[in-house]
């Protein structure tokens, strides 16, 4: 078992009102899964992904990654975990605009501090080739289309071979054709790299690509 989520609860405070974002979420993920979390806006998809990815804290419940409990970890320990275990793909790509495509993708490897310059170069160029961006490594993010930027974001998430890739609505800012291309790419990388993918979406077209679909509504898993 790669990931185990047990009785996860999360409440937001919106003004003077408490909003239950996640309610008793239980979820198991095996390695190399390609799973979509589907649900309407405000259903808790992003909150669930953020809690699993340790960039948000739940109030109660347990999260195990490779049998390691995450809830009691310090901020620095969680940062270390994210560095080694998770790859993130964001709806708005979140690339660093002052860095080139190459520099954006190399960032997670630089953080790991375990590869030489030539190893990093080989890995980054290889990954850019895999996502179809060979030859664009010196471009800046703003010189690329939305689809290309998301490919860079995917390359950045996968270059360190994480155990788990969390993608929050990765196709929401793209047209349907490009969206499908991106999901196809994620799927093929899931097969090639063996990383487990967990992505949120509310797009029916994208959902059909998932090997497993988890439906969420009002902070609760429906099926």
């Amino acid at each position: 078992m790669l990931l185990q989520v047990k009785n996860l609860n999360k409440t937001y405070r919106s003004g003077k009102v408490d909003v239950k974002a996640l309610s008793n979420i239980n979820l198991n993920l095996e390695p190399a899964e390609f799973t979509a979390i589907a649900g309407p806006s405000g259903s808790g998809k992003t909150t669930l992904l953020n809690c699993i990815g340790t960039i948000d804290r739940a109030e109660s419940g347990e999260i195990f990654l490779d049998n390691v409990e995450l809830m009691g970890k310090s901020r620095n320990e969680l940062a270390q975990l994210r560095k080694e275990y998770f790859g993130f793909i964001f709806q708005t790509y979140n690339l660093i605009p002052v860095l080139t495509v190459f520099e954006n993708v190399e960032m997670p490897l630089k953080l790991l501090r375990k590869y030489s310059g030539s190893e990093i170069k080989d890995k980054v160029l290889g990954m850019l080739n895999q996502v179809g961006l060979a030859g664009l490594e010196n471009r800046r993010p703003l010189e690329l289309s939305g689809g290309q930027q998301q490919r860079v974001s995917i390359a950045r998430a996968l270059v360190k071979h994480p155990k788990m890739v969390l993608a929050d609505e990765p196709t929401a800012n793209l047209d349907s054709k490009t969206g499908e291309e991106i999901v196809d790419l994620m799927k093929s990388l899931n097969e090639q790299e063996g990383a487990s993918f967990l992505f949120s979406t509310h797009d029916q077209l994208i959902m059909k690509h998932a090997k497993r679909l988890i439906k969420i509504r009002d902070g609760m898993i429906e099926s």
Binding site: G53, I55, R82, K83, F88, I96, P108, D168
Partner: protein, 404 residues
């Protein structure tokens, strides 16, 4: 660490105009400080030279009964001055010794009168003092008088005019003598120009009815070795009061200390302005990069690493602004070093508390360069501390939410 530095460097180049403006504030402040420090050092250098060359020499030897409160009192005569002078001249580091008689007098042109310090100077005076080099008209002739240019102008006098000099002789009676102005001095020391007249030593002694002098002024091979040489001078002049130029110009050196304090305050003010500018720049930068901070934290950057990124940005702004300031400061100061500043044209004959007149040039002070660069860099790091701390406390999810 290197990677964070590289990132910080790229970040400061992101908002070029804002970065340039911050650089400019900082570099202008640094440049002004350097200019001020170098100008003041230049003033001090010239002031010290003028005090030594026209007033104090390196040491003054005076009677043991010399009364500092009445420096021109005729009771202050130094006995056996010739023997004393010979002894002092035997010291290897002594380059010259000059005897002078100084007394207070009233200068009268038959219309106006002005109090002056009358000085009798001997033939060896130019071994110690620079007066002779600043005579712009005529010379000191037997029976004649040299007077400062400003004093002559104030009293409407010129060379070859006759004046009356009235003073109290040794026995206490008033004496008034008619003298011919045979030369005009335009020195770099305002005291010489504004309130002194010079005559031959033997003539002054004759008028004062004495064979003694009021002081012997000594010049050595190094003005800065005052403390080192003083015991030897004192040994050669037992029972004589020995005053170094530092002691004699205590008022002026106190002013130098004040100026240094003022420079410190000025530096502090500049740095406060720079710090406010940098804090503002860094806070704007934090706000603009909120999404990136969230992304970096999500990718695994620790709070400290993201915080360091902003501290490095501050350091780089400080270092670059400081270096630019050094270049600007050098350019500003070059003008004042090569061309100089005409104090007399700016201030006239006004007493500015320093013995300087005419064109004064600045100096080059390495200390000011080092201090300014260190301060600029340190102030920038301090200014970045608060924004960096703010970043540490930010939650990755909160940062990411701002864009999603």
């Amino acid at each position: 660490m290197t990677y964070l530095f590289k990132l910080a460097f790229k970040n400061i180049l992101r908002s070029k105009i804002r970065t340039i403006l911050t650089f400019l504030i900082l570099s202008f402040g640094v440049a002004l400080y350097i200019l001020l420090a170098c100008l003041m050092a230049g003033f001090d250098k010239v002031s010290i030279k003028n005090v030594i060359d026209f007033e104090t020499g390196h040491y003054k030897l005076r009677s043991p009964d010399f009364d500092e409160d009445h420096p021109y009192d005729l009771k202050n005569y130094l006995e056996n001055s010739q023997a004393l002078k010979t002894r002092v001249l035997k010291l290897g580091f002594v380059q010259g010794a000059a005897e002078r008689v100084q007394f207070l007098a009233e200068l009268d042109n038959s219309i106006d009168s002005a109090p002056v310090v009358a000085v009798g100077i001997g033939p060896q005076d130019n071994q110690v003092f620079s007066l002779e080099q600043y005579i712009i008209e005529g010379r000191l002739e037997p029976g004649g008088l040299l007077m400062g240019k400003s004093l002559a102008q104030d009293m409407g006098l010129q060379k070859d005019d006759l004046i009356y000099l009235t003073f109290r002789a040794q026995q206490g009676m008033y004496t008034s003598i008619e003298m011919l102005i045979t030369g005009i001095v335009n020195s770099a020391n305002p005291q010489v120009n504004n309130s002194m007249v010079f005559m031959n030593l033997d003539e002054a002694q004759k008028q004062l009815n004495t064979k003694q002098v009021t002081d012997i002024t000594v010049k050595t091979d190094a003005f800065f070795k005052v403390k080192e040489y003083e015991p030897q001078i004192k040994a050669a002049a037992p029972n004589i009061q020995v005053y170094s130029w530092k002691k004699l110009s205590e008022d002026f050196t106190a002013m130098m200390t004040m100026k240094r304090k003022f420079q410190g305050i000025f530096l502090l003010m500049i740095m406060v302005i720079a710090v406010v500018g940098i804090v503002n720049t860094m806070l704007m930068s934090v706000y603009e990069k909120k999404a990136e901070i969230g992304t970096m934290k999500a990718l695994g950057f620790t709070d400290q690493e993201v915080s360091n990124l902003f501290l490095f940005e501050g350091f780089l702004i400080g270092l670059a602004g400081g270096l630019m300031g050094l270049i600007l400061g050098t350019l500003f100061n070059s003008w004042f070093y090569f061309v100089g500043m005409d104090i007399t044209a700016m201030m006239g004959d006004q007493d500015i508390g320093m013995p300087i007149m005419g064109v004064v040039r600045s100096a080059w002070i390495a200390d000011a360069y080092i201090k300014a660069l260190l301060f600029a860099t340190l102030a920038s790091i301090v200014a970045s501390y608060y924004p960096a701390k703010k970043v540490t406390k930010m939650e990755a999810m909160e940062c990411l939410r701002t864009v999603q």
